[in-house]
């Protein structure tokens, strides 16, 4: 197993853990934590391909990760603001009790 495959396996496992948590947990904040873990798994993939790919001096994967981290920071702020707004409105952050948009 090469180092690139090791990195990719770690990030695949991280993605699976984040996905399982985001799908199975009831609390809205834990779903957000799962999404953050999945985003980090994608970033780890990008860095691994940048490091072991053919042209690391072009810095493409590196810059992509910087942009992706900026977007993830904005996304976390907006998501937590949404969770707090829903909590103030409905006094719950349990996703099974927030059913207004359920089809």
């Amino acid at each position: 197993m090469t180092a690139l495959q090791g990195c990719l396996l770690i990030s695949a496992l991280l993605f699976a853990i984040g996905f399982a948590g985001a799908v199975t947990r009831r609390h809205a904040i834990l779903v957000l934590i799962g999404i953050e873990l999945m985003l980090n798994a994608a970033n780890l993939n990008l860095i691994a391909f940048w490091r072991f790919g053919p042209h690391p001096e072009a810095l493409t994967g590196f810059i992509f990760v910087l942009f992706s981290m900026a977007m993830a920071g904005a996304e976390a702020a907006v998501g937590l603001a949404l969770i707090i707004a829903i909590y103030r409105h409905k006094k719950t952050s349990n996703l099974d009790e927030v059913k207004e948009l359920k089809g």
Binding site: I10, I29, F52, P56, M69, V78
Partner: protein, 167 residues
Amino acid sequence: MSPFFIITGIVTLLGAVFAMSLRNLVHCALAMAVAFSGIAALYLQLDAQFVGFAEILVYVGAIAILIVFAILLTRSGEAPEKSVLTSGWLAGIAVSAVVFTMLGWAVLNSSAIPKETPPAPVATVKNVGDALMTKFVLPLEIIAAMIGAVIIALKEESKNENSGRKS
């Protein structure tokens, strides 16, 4: 792969598992910080120093604090008595296991993976800044504009809320 890299990966994955499986939300946030620190250590070992330190600054610093604030503001700091899982949790775990099996199979059997490790690239802060200000200046401005749009939208909302309260 050095043994230190494997140990860091195991610590990261354990932190992620605990972040997703503990009952108390504050403990979950703490385990999440451990997982993010592990990812930062992995970045440092992959010769991406700037991204590693940015990860510590953004995730372990800012987002972990933001999540702890949200946990305490929504008064969910203590562990619930009821079940913490949704009704379809078994299907969720099955789907994520299938996802991991497919990804792992693809990674281990791919012919596109290069066999030899290239020499370590130089990604100093100067190089990164040069690239950001020349080749990637348009994406940088677009992302700054997007985040600025988020901030403007948030301000607008709070203004409406205040005026709504007054009337």
